[in-house]
Amino acid sequence: MLRFLLSLAVGLGLGLGLGLYLGWIQFPVEYTDAPPSTLAESYQDDYTVMIAAGYLVDRDVNAALERLRLLEISNIPQYVQNVTERFISSSREVRDIIYMVALSEALGRLTPIMEPYREVNVRGTGG
């Protein structure tokens, strides 16, 4: 009987360990219908860059603000400035920086670190 119980306990331990590994790491619960505010930072950055590119097409800063509300950020101009400065300091792709600097400038958030990226001709025909 002891042999049976010991084997059962060992089996339980192994099964539990494997179950938790699979459930938490290998196949964790994947949520759908998530709010945009939970979007990973890299995707929030991407979204912001895309909106900045849209701003360069229509030059409509209010439209850009409206589109960025999707991210449920309280202070959008501050957010755009922060992202732009982070892009510059982390040497993100120049194209993205230029888009973001243009949007920052439109929002009245042009800072000295952004100056070199103003009015630079990038590939693309917008504007």
Partner: protein
């Protein structure tokens, strides 16, 4: 065959009572493992699941996904980078065709209050442009008007002549009632008609395709139009050629090799406006760091 002291016959050689007993009960181990596995998964998935904060675009709500796609289209509208747009659309894990997913999302937004604002309207227009260029259609095609706005016509209405003040002495001859002067009908000013909407120009930089103008002449639905005469002009020359001579690229396709440093204008003679700005064969750097010459894609879409 010997007997023990109690007079019992010993077990046969192949009997399990003669084999050494295993330390592990395999059946108990298996039962325990299965119970543990089930319990572990139940705990990890239901009782204490991973709290996900860094979600991906495909996990967003349907509406947020649609707005994310609008942003993709806006970005494409500026830089014309189709590969990047496709990559971003694929991150949304489409069930089938990513461009049809885009068309469906545009339809969803066009049937909502999203298009009540200019921002929304422009975004849906961008989505339309992107999926129409890929030959897809959606309900936004009809729900959202084309970019071109009707010409505003100011009509001058007839000015009524005021009645003269009444005289103290009435006269027998009645004053004829003033008759409004009918203004000559004003014809609305109609811009010069073109068979195509203004050409859309996209740039790209590819080391394997330096300084090329790729021309796509399409119907509204995206179907290519073959044997359309296209003209490319530069400082001291021009060249006329037809679409559809490279059938592997589609019936509405044609291309032209630019010379580095020169500027070019493309149009369909007599049927379209020329490209709004010169296409300059300027040096560019590819995403991999290689140097090349800027190339262009010019889209003529029938209106």
């Amino acid at each position: 065959m010997g007997y023990d002291l109690a007079g019992n016959q010993p077990p046969a050689r192949e009997s399990r009572y003669r084999r050494p007993r295993s330390l592990v009960s395999w059946s108990a181990l298996l039962i325990g493992f299965l119970i543990g596995l089930g319990g572990g998964l139940f705990y990890a998935w239901n009782i204490n699941p991973v709290v996900q904060i860094d979600t991906q675009p495909w996990q967003l709500t349907s509406r947020a996904r649609a707005e994310y796609m609008a942003a993709i289209a806006l970005d494409f509208g500026y830089d014309g980078d189709l590969n990047l747009a496709v990559q971003r659309l694929i991150e949304l894990r489409p069930q089938g065709d990513p461009f049809q997913m885009l068309a469906d999302a545009a339809c969803q937004l066009a049937t909502s209050g999203y298009v009540d604002s200019n921002a929304g309207l422009q975004a849906v227009q961008s989505m339309k442009l992107l999926y129409q260029l890929q030959g897809r259609t959606g309900c936004a095609d009809t729900l959202v008007a084309a970019v071109a706005q009707p010409t505003e016509v100011i009509l001058s209405l007839p000015t009524p002549t005021p009645l003269p003040p009444a005289t103290k002495t009435p006269t027998q001859v009645p004053t004829p009632a003033p008759s409004p002067t009918a203004a000559a009908p004003i014809q609305p000013t109609v811009p010069v008609q073109s068979d195509f909407v203004p050409p859309v120009v996209r740039t790209f930089c590819d080391a394997s395709l330096p300084g090329i103008i790729e021309i796509f002449v399409q119907q509204v639905g995206g179907e290519g139009l073959s044997l359309q005469q296209v003209r490319v002009r530069w400082n001291d020359g021009d060249n006329l050629f037809l679409t559809g001579l490279k059938p592997e690229r589609g019936p509405g396709y044609a291309d032209f090799d630019m010379e580095a440093g020169l500027s070019y204008i493309v149009d369909i003679p007599g049927r379209s406006d020329p490209t709004s700005s010169p296409l300059v064969a300027s040096p560019c750097t590819t995403e991999t760091g290689a140097t090349s010459i800027t190339s262009y894609r010019v889209f003529f879409v029938e209106q």
